[in-house]
Point group: none
Chain length 223, copies 4
C-alpha cells in the first residue's frame, strides 16, 4: 500500500550510461514490475523508480506503456526460444530432442519465473495488441515439435492419416506445457525435471498410441 515503502531502488543510479545499457535496465525493471502487478496495475512511475531512471527516459527510449510491454514480451520470448533451441540439438534422436526441449523449457521457466509470468499470464490477458507476439512464439514452438513428431512418424512408417494429427498433437502438447508451467507457479516446490518428465510421458506415450492406432472413441472405448 505504501507508495514508497518497499520500493527497491534498482542499480546504483549511475549517470551518463550509453543508451544500450539504459534500455536493458529499463526492460529489466519493466519485466519485474509487470510480472509483479500485471500490466494494468503496473505504473510507469514504479517502473522508472525500479529502473533507477526518470520517466522521460523510458518514453524516449522505449515509447509508451504499450510499447514497453510489447518490447518486454518480445525480449523474453526470444530468450525463451533461444533456451529451448539450445536444448534441441539436431544430432540427437527425435525423442531426445523433444526431451531436451521440454527440459530446457521447464528449466527456463524455473530460472525466470518473472519472465514467464509476463510472457504467459500477463500477455495472455492484457488484451489485443500483445497476444500477437505470443501467438508467433507458440506457432514456432508448435512447428518445431511437429517436425520432431513427423520425423519419428515417418521413420516408423506411419500412414498419412495418422501423420495428419501430428500438428494438433503438437498444439496440445504446447498448450499442456503452458498450462503445466502456469500451474507450477502456484506449486513451486516441484522440481523442473519432474514436470518435464510428466510432459514427455504425456506426449510421447500418447503419440506412441496414436501411431499404433490405439485410439479411444466414444463408441468402442479402448477398442
Amino acid at each position: 500500500m505504501s507508495v514508497d515503502g518497499d520500493r527497491r531502488r534498482g542499480p546504483e543510479r549511475s549517470r551518463r550510461l550509453p543508451r544500450e545499457v539504459r534500455e536493458r535496465q529499463i526492460l529489466d525493471a519493466a519485466v519485474r514490475v509487470f510480472s509483479e502487478h500485471g500490466y494494468h496495475y503496473a505504473s510507469m512511475d514504479e517502473i522508472s523508480d525500479v529502473a533507477g531512471v526518470s520517466k522521460p527516459m523510458i518514453y524516449a527510449y522505449l515509447g509508451a506503456k504499450e510499447d514497453l510491454f510489447t518490447e518486454c514480451i518480445r525480449r523474453e520470448a526470444i530468450g525463451l526460444m533461444e533456451a529451448i533451441s539450445k536444448g534441441v540439438r539436431s544430432e540427437l534422436t527425435p525423442d531426445m530432442q523433444l526431451w531436451h526441449g521440454l527440459d530446457a523449457f521447464f528449466g527456463y521457466v524455473d530460472d525466470h519465473r518473472e519472465s514467464w509470468l509476463v510472457l504467459h499470464r500477463q500477455a495472455t490477458s492484457a488484451g489485443g495488441p500483445f497476444s500477437r507476439q505470443l501467438l508467433e512464439m507458440r506457432a514456432r514452438a508448435i512447428t518445431l515439435i511437429d517436425a520432431l513428431l513427423t520425423k519419428t512418424a515417418s521413420s516408423e512408417g506411419m500412414d498419412s492419416q495418422a501423420r495428419k494429427g501430428t500438428e494438433a498433437h503438437a498444439a496440445a502438447l504446447v498448450g499442456a506445457c503452458e498450462s503445466l508451467a502456469d500451474w507450477w507457479l502456484d506449486h513451486p516446490d516441484i522440481p523442473a525435471r519432474v514436470l518435464a518428465t510428466r510432459a514427455m510421458n504425456l506426449v510421447w506415450m500418447g503419440f506412441g498410441d496414436l501411431m499404433e492406432g490405439n485410439v479411444w472413441t466414444p463408441t468402442h472405448p479402448e477398442s
Copy 2:
C-alpha cells in the same frame, strides 16, 4: 467517441423490480462486459449502462468492482461445474463418465464463450483475489477426475506406486483442457466433440500406458 453510441441498453429500464431480478440483470451485464473488455478495461459505467441500472444499485446489491467480478466468477463456475456434473452419471463406467464429463465441458464452453472467457482468461490474469475461486473449481475438477482414474486403476490392479501419479495426471488433464478450450476461442471452427475426443485420447491413452508401466524416462527412452 460518443459515450452512448452503440451501447446496447439492456432490459427496458423498468422500475421497482425485486432484488433477485436486479441482481441477475446486473450479473448478466457484468459477465458480458468483463468478457468483452477484460476486468481492467471494463468500467462500472458501462456495466450499469448495459444492465439498465444506475451505478449506486450495483454497489448496493453487489458491492465494489472486485466483489462484482468475484461474484461473476462464482456464478459462472457453478454453472460450469453443474453442466459437467450432469454429464458424469455414476451409473456409467469410469471411462464413459470421463468422456461425458469432457463432452459436457467442451459443450458448455461452446455455448457460453463469454462465461468461459471471464472464468479463465480474465480471472487468470486479473490478479490475486480472483484466482481463489478458480483454484477451488479446478481442485474440485481434479478430485472428480482423480476419483475416476483411481477407480479404474484399482479395478485393474494397479500398484500403489502408479496410483500415486493419478492426481498429477488429473491435474495435467485439467490444465490441458483449459489450455485447449482457451486455444479454441481463437479457432472457433472446430466442433466441440472433436476437442473432447482429443482430450480423451490424451488422458486415457496416456493413463493406460501409465497403468501398464509404459513410462518414458531420459535414460531408457521407450524402454
Copy 3:
C-alpha cells in the same frame, strides 16, 4: 507517431560554423516552426531538428523558448519595417509615399507569409511578454503615417480640430491593414496590389472627407 518521420532536416549538419551563421540557421528554423504550429505547439525539439543543431546550442545562443520567440519577432519586425521604409521615399508627395508604403507592406506579407504569421497572429495571442515588440513596431508605423497625413493636412490648411484626428486615423489605418493582411492569409488568391489599393482608398478617401469636414455623426447623419 515516428519521432523522425517527415521531419525535414535543415542545413547539412556541418560542424564548427561561426556563431553568426548558427544563429541565423536557428532563427530561420524557429520562424518556420513557430509560424506552422504556433508558439505553444512548437517544440524546441522540432526547432533544433529543423535547424540541424542540437538543443543546447539554441539555449547557448538564443536563450529560452521565450527569448527565442522574442528574437524571431524582433528580426521579422525589423525586416518588415525596412521593407516599408524602402517604399516611403521622402522625395515623393505624401499620398504617393503612403501608397508605396502600403504597397511595400502588402508585398512583404505576400513574400513572407511565415514572417507575418509569426509577427501578427502568433505574437498577438501568445500572451504578454511578446506584444511589446509588436506595439513598438505599430507605434512606429502610426507615427510614420501620421506624419504623412499631417503634412498633407497642413498644406491643405486644415484646422487644428481636424488635425487632432490624424493620429487616431493613422491608428485605424494600421489596424485595418493588419486585419486585412490577416484576413488575406485565409484568402490567398487576391493579388497584393488590390489589397494595397483598397487600403489606400479607405484611408485616403476617408481622410479627404475628414479634412473637408464631412463627418458623420449620429445626430445629423450624412449631413
Copy 4:
C-alpha cells in the same frame, strides 16, 4: 506563482445543482480563465477551481479542454451577435442601422472584455479547430453589413460596378472593427461611442466616396 494564492473561489460551492446551472457556472469560469491566461496556459485545474466544481464534472458536462473552449467561443459568439442584432432594427434607415450595430458592437466589447478576449485574441491564435466558429460569425456579420450597404447603394442608384465592391467593403469594415476593438483593449480609456463613431466615419465616408466614383488609384491619385 503560488498555486492557490489569489485563486478566487467562484460561487459559494453549493451542492446538488441541476446540470444546466452547473454548465453555466463552468462556462463562466472557463471564459474568465481562458481570457486571462490564453488557451494553452489555462489549466483545467484552475477552471474547475474558479467554477467551484471538481474536474470530473467539467469532463462529464462539457468534455475535454478543446470542447470546453469551443463551447465558450460558441456561447460568446452567439451573445455578441445577439447584442448586435438587437441594435440593428429594421425599421431604421440603413445608416442608422449600421450606426446602432457598431454602437452595439463596441458597447458589448466594452461590457464583456473577457468575452471579446476569448473570442478574438485567443480563438484566433489557438490553432485550427477553433477558428471555424469565428469565421462563421464573421461571415454573418459581413453579410449583415453588406445588405445594409447594398440597400443604400441601390436606393441611390449605384451602378453595378460599384455595387460589386460592397462585400469587400463590408469585409474591410469588419476587419477594421475587430482591429479597433483589439487595439482598444490596450487603450481602455477611450469611450465606446468614440470608437463607434470613428468606425462609422471610416466606412460610411469611404463608402460614400465609393458610390460617387471617388476612387484613388496609383496612376491618377485624387482624381
